[in-house]
Symmetry: C2
Subunit: 389 residues, 2 copies
């Protein structure tokens, strides 16, 4: 089976049926995401990141793969839940709510808002719902307004060491393309310019070729736990956002620089002993604070496959292809679960299943189906070009 | 070598020399706690929990082992740093400061205050410093005032699910004994009564014999990630605080109940496959949120040795002795590092070193020397009674 067929079939015949069968809470709205190996619900709390991401996934597939009314119903079940229960009185999004929508953890985290904006936008495109487009735009501008103080009153850091984080500029570079057709073109281009500069100039370190998770506002480094931190999966995921932008802008230099960065990060963070990509590293080789540093996470590996597939599609680099095949073998061997469906999320350093779950507080219906879709489409193009695989 | 001598020698000839040699920041005050395998400083930030705990350790040893002026100097170096740099304008203690004492992470965490009160009290006793006794008392009452809302404005949970945490009642039962001679006897007895009730009635579950990390205020359980969470090391550590209280009150029933609880938790949380005690568990066997759940931590094992030694001293139970020897073998084999001194803190499930450090953000000069001292004293009594070992 060629890769495009593998990804397409897995998406349509394995991943989506799993979430369709086990995750929908038709009674109270939204989705269950805490699903064990077999798909049984083991916790009913609803984490807004994952509610929004699943609504986004089904909306996006409806828009791009097939006008399947079941997918639209599933997306609507999440969108309605989000609109009704996810926002506090200031229009900021909770981190989590109960099964019936009562707020549990307050809006300390701006990423709930980012994923809500993505979900609203895709669903508004699917349904041509003008008021939802307006809501998506409102949420987007709320995010921009909070960008310099995303944690608000929950910020525990003082101003003494004003490190800035990579997550927000990274996610903006993807979010803004999701709002195409909803935002004005000028706004989109302005945010793209901002993101490229932040990602490729401020956070990407010229000399090492690595992306730092936290830097000083001028891009300089700080010799502290947060300042030394690398999150290889984050860096690599951001590079496929950059490739998407490079394709949009026909900017081959950006695509090449993103490719170089993917390869540098992979070389640095690949576990030479047991295989797989480390979750966190300290750039000076000191012990990181994160006790989970050596674990192998599903999203890190799937985002890497997407990044390598896109890179290969647009550069035809042999080195990229060689890495693709290496990461492909590790990832499909260790994370997938053909017996029960969907993929495991968390492996220990040796690649053994650490948590027997298909979904939880942070893993939902998002990285797996998105990567399946992205790789399917990239390999369709790669195969159409008759590139060596 | 008998156990009392092993613990005494390790404390005096291995553990203390390591911290004396590598950790003291004579220039800026306080201590370095981020020390690699060999004792080299790899990060200079100062975490207030650990600053206070190290000042406490050297003060406590000065008070109880030997009037060693070097120990008093080392303690003073931390106490002066704490007094000068650790308190914010409301008298609450920061979580961390820079090497030179500039605030980094605000007072979101009441445990900084708990350890500061312990340190001030022990040092005040060592030096008979009346104003420091008053400060220790002030900090203690500040803690009591915050007990129903310990995170203050940083609390992200809503009131929908009012779970209460085990840490605070647990630590109070130890802290209050540390303030003997500073607080009035009535205050001490009142807080002991409160702690015993919280620990042994509210958090200890009668039917399973396990201690829950979070319960509803009436002690009932909640079927959610936090409500299902077990932290075996916490439960076992609290049991030796209860045994100390039982000894003080000549309450053999309390000592026996604490002993039963230690054995129940150990039986539940011992890793039958690789040995050692799990860090976190879910009482229903679901995947916990904590990715580090299966790791083996130094403090969990050392506190267990203290608990078992004290329990054996006061119950002479064969089952306790058998568990003591089992945990002793695992702990001394896996955590200690006779080649470089001090103990490793973090092992993976298989008992291999996960982080090559002797100190970090959470590990300082506290659990190892305190456990060495406590086990030394317990085994002196056990050996004096000529009990079987």
């Amino acid at each position: 089976m060629n890769y495009s067929t593998l990804y397409k079939n897995t998406l349509l015949n394995d991943i989506l049926p799993f979430w369709e069968e086990y995750s929908i809470d038709w009674e109270h709205g939204g989705y269950f995401t805490c699903l064990n190996t077999q798909g049984q619900v083991y916790d009913t709390d609803k984490f807004i990141w994952l509610q929004a991401r699943q609504a986004w996934t089904f909306s996006m597939l409806y828009n791009n793969v097939e006008k399947n009314p079941k997918w639209l119903d599933i997306a609507k079940n999440g969108i309605d839940f989000l609109k009704r229960f996810a926002m506090d009185s200031e229009g900021q999004f909770y981190f989590s709510v109960t099964q019936t929508g009562k707020p549990l953890v307050k809006a300390y985290n701006i990423f709930s808002d980012c994923f809500a904006a993505m979900a609203f936008s895709q669903f508004a495109i699917a349904t041509n719902d003008e008021s939802l487009k307006t809501l998506a735009k409102t949420v987007y501008y709320n995010i921009l307004n909070r960008i310099n103080n995303p944690k608000g009153i929950y910020e525990k850091q003082t101003d003494i060491r004003p490190l800035i984080g990579f997550s927000l500029p990274m996610i903006l570079s993807n979010l803004v393309l999701e709002l195409e057709g909803i935002l004005l073109d000028d706004e989109i281009e302005k945010t793209i310019d901002f993101s490229i500069n932040q990602v490729m100039n401020v956070f990407l370190d010229e000399s090492s070729g690595l992306i730092f998770e936290n830097v000083m506002p001028d891009g300089s480094h700080h010799d502290s736990f947060n300042g030394r931190l690398l999150n290889p999966g984050h860096g690599i995921e951001a590079m496929w956002f950059m490739i998407d932008i490079g394709v949009r802008r026909k900017d081959q230099v950006l695509i090449q620089k993103a490719t170089d960065t993917i390869l540098t990060i992979l070389d640095y963070s690949w576990d030479k002993k047991y295989g797989g990509i480390f979750y966190f590293m300290d750039v000076k080789g000191h012990p990181p604070q994160q006790l989970e540093w050596d674990q192998k996470l599903w999203w890190v590996h799937l985002e890497t496959l997407v990044a390598l597939a896109k890179s290969y599609e647009h550069t035809q680099s042999k080195m990229v292809l060689s890495w693709y095949n290496k990461v492909h073998d590790y990832t499909w061997q260790h994370f997938s679960d053909p017996e029960n469906g969907e993929w495991f999320g968390y492996l220990n350093r040796r690649g053994e299943v650490l948590l027997p779950l298909k979904g939880g507080k942070w893993k939902g219906c998002f990285h797996v189906p998105r990567a399946m879709y992205q790789c399917w489409k990239s390999f369709e193009n790669i195969e159409a070009k008759k590139l060596k695989i």
